[in-house]
């Protein structure tokens, strides 16, 4: 009996100790969170802080964030990351604050972000590549120069009529063996992957010859270039690198015609000057084809609706007779300039169809094209192999007209928060930056 009593007592005191521990835990540390509401403005990156909790966590709290775009900037930013660069601890090793990093990667795409709707490109390939349903493939290109160290991403785009926007974008990521078919407007950056799959690319080399190009202009494809995502609010020059815009077969469809290849969409402001420079190269399998290298631009309003266009052509001719199967190369530097003069039209554009009010222009989509005019019906069909290298786009003022994106960002730190700790160990007060500017 005595033993039983001792066991009971020990058991009771153990229970009491457990209860006291639970009570202590409840009193001294509870699951709680700290919120900050701040404003983040601009594109780019910044490290910001310190964000002082004014309280203390005994372990690193769980950090999350959410961001809401303000007004018309919705949809501009495509990727946002806020992370903890450093935890700030006091002399008791408690977690009392944090330094954060912000990176908002934005592009100039006015359309809402879409979703990947299929990863099985093979079936779509047969259906759309020059298929009978009118969905001609109008653009194919690669980002940068292809080397073993830097394989390229191929992007295919189909037009959607009559809105002149992109219905589908397929992105081929070498190494993944899949094509991602993306709904209009999804501009999630695509990383240039390693380990290309040449066989897939060769397939497209062959099939390109069968594209129907008789009806492509001025519908736009769209290139997504990760490296040009930078602010354009002021004077800016950025290089788009080399883009192999592909091969066209002028015969077999129309003896006269042209093909346009679209370049990235750029957000602009009234009064801005857009300069486009490029090296253009045309190889044709005959010497008898007159062709013309062209720059074009489509003007879109805030909603991405086409409201005008302009073309600038520069004629050239190969000028030599080198035989039916020889290649002739013409390689020249071209430049086109558009001055988006408010209420005043555009300078230096030979073909213009601009909107009545240029102030409506919010985006331009640059195009490079080639036109041809064979002198006779030739067989076998000639090909124009059209390349554009060293594309540069220069944007000149006004700086104040393009507003930077503004986001309301909520930051949240949650975890086991020590209660009453600050009364024993003085902590810094609850404070944080109200605004973070990115650059």
């Amino acid at each position: 009996m005595a033993n039983d009593g001792a066991v009971r007592r020990i058991g009771r005191s153990l229970r009491q100790a457990d209860m006291r521990q639970e009570l202590d835990r409840g009193q001294w540390a509870t699951l709680d969170k700290i919120d900050y509401d701040i404003v983040v403005e601009g594109r780019g990156e910044a490290e910001a802080g310190p964000f002082w909790f004014g309280r203390a966590f005994d372990t690193p709290p769980f950090f999350t964030f959410s961001a809401v775009a303000r007004g018309a900037n919705t949809g501009i930013a495509t990727q946002i990351t806020v992370g903890v660069a450093e935890w700030l601890q006091d002399e008791q090793d408690m977690y009392v604050g944090a330094m954060l990093w912000f990176i908002f990667d934005a592009c100039w795409e006015p359309f809402p972000t879409g979703m990947i709707i299929s990863e099985d490109f093979e079936n779509h390939n047969k259906a759309y590549l020059g298929g009978p349903d009118g969905n001609e493939l109008i653009g194919l290109g690669r980002l940068g120069n292809s080397t073993p160290e830097n394989p390229f991403t191929v992007i295919l785009a189909w037009p959607s009529r009559p809105l002149n926007t992109i219905e589908r974008i397929a992105v081929f990521e070498p190494g993944t063996s899949i094509f991602k078919l993306i709904r209009r407007g999804d501009l999630s950056p695509y990383k240039v992957m390693q380990d290309p799959t040449p066989s897939r690319l060769e397939d497209f080399e062959v099939k390109r010859s069968y594209w129907s190009l008789s009806d492509v202009a001025p519908a736009g494809g769209l290139w997504h270039l990760r490296q040009v995502q930078q602010p354009v609010s002021g004077p800016a020059v950025f290089s788009l690198g080399a883009i192999d815009v592909g091969t066209v077969s002028p015969c077999g469809y129309d003896l006269e015609g042209d093909a346009w290849f679209t370049l990235p969409l750029i957000r602009v402001a009234p009064g801005m000057t857009v300069k486009m420079r490029a090296n253009a190269k045309v190889n044709d399998t005959y010497d008898q084809i007159s062709y013309q290298f062209r720059f074009g631009v489509d003007f879109l309003d805030e909603k991405g609706v086409l409201i005008g266009s302009s073309g600038l052509g520069m004629s050239t001719r190969n000028g030599q007779t080198v035989g039916l199967t020889s290649l002739f190369t013409s390689y020249s530097k071209y430049e086109a300039i558009w001055h988006l003069i408010p209420y005043g039209g555009f300078d230096e554009a030979t073909e213009v169809n601009w909107p009545a009010n240029n102030n409506d222009i919010r985006y331009v989509q640059l195009r490079a094209g080639v036109g041809w005019n064979p002198v006779s019906n030739l067989y076998p069909y000639p090909e124009l192999i059209f390349d554009v290298d060293d594309i540069e786009v220069e944007l000149l003022g006004p700086a104040q007209s393009v507003s930077a994106p503004v986001f309301d960002v909520a930051l949240n730190f949650g975890g086991q928060m020590l209660q009453g700790y600050s009364s024993v160990h003085p902590l810094r007060s609850y404070e944080a930056p109200l605004k973070v500017l990115l650059s």
């Binding site: 699951l31 690193p60 769980f62 935890w87 990667d105």
Partner: protein, 144 residues
């Protein structure tokens, strides 16, 4: 009168039923927050191995994530990491197609994308929140 009398007798049993449901809910299931740490080095896109919850969620848990630099690492200017993470596939109990049995969530494969030229050492904190079952030994299909 008859109707009122019948209704009056029903109230206590409804209350008992409600109490029993509450009791069952407390006993059998409750809200849980699970936070897992996952360390990465470098950039690129990865799929994680199966992350076993060690808990049984009734329904797919709410997923969120946070990211932090591992201690001792610093940010490189013009190359701050852009990260995203999401659930690629849930691991659930196996339920026959025509079964009415509840689907329980036991783990997940995640995808993590890190864009940066610098080989950052990052720590992802992966959060899963939902209702978890307490007495899993009675759940059919969980134990072999």
């Amino acid at each position: 009168m008859t109707s009122r009398a019948t209704t009056g007798k029903t109230y206590p049993s409804i209350r008992r039923a409600v109490q029993r449901v509450d009791l069952d809910r407390d006993t059998w299931a409750g809200p849980s927050l699970l936070i897992l740490s996952y360390d990465t080095v470098g950039a690129g896109v990865i799929e994680t191995e199966l992350l076993d919850f060690g808990l049984v969620f009734e329904g797919s848990p709410f997923f969120s994530y946070g990211v932090e630099l591992q201690p001792g690492h610093v940010l490189v200017a013009n190359d701050f990491p852009l990260v995203t993470a999401g659930v690629k596939q849930w691991k659930t109990t196996e339920v026959e197609a025509d079964s009415q049995a509840t689907l329980f969530y036991l783990g997940a494969h995640l995808w993590i994308s890190i864009e940066a030229k610098t080989a950052y050492k990052l720590r992802f904190r992966l959060s899963f929140e939902g209702i978890t079952m307490r007495n899993v030994e009675y759940i059919r299909g969980l134990n072999g």
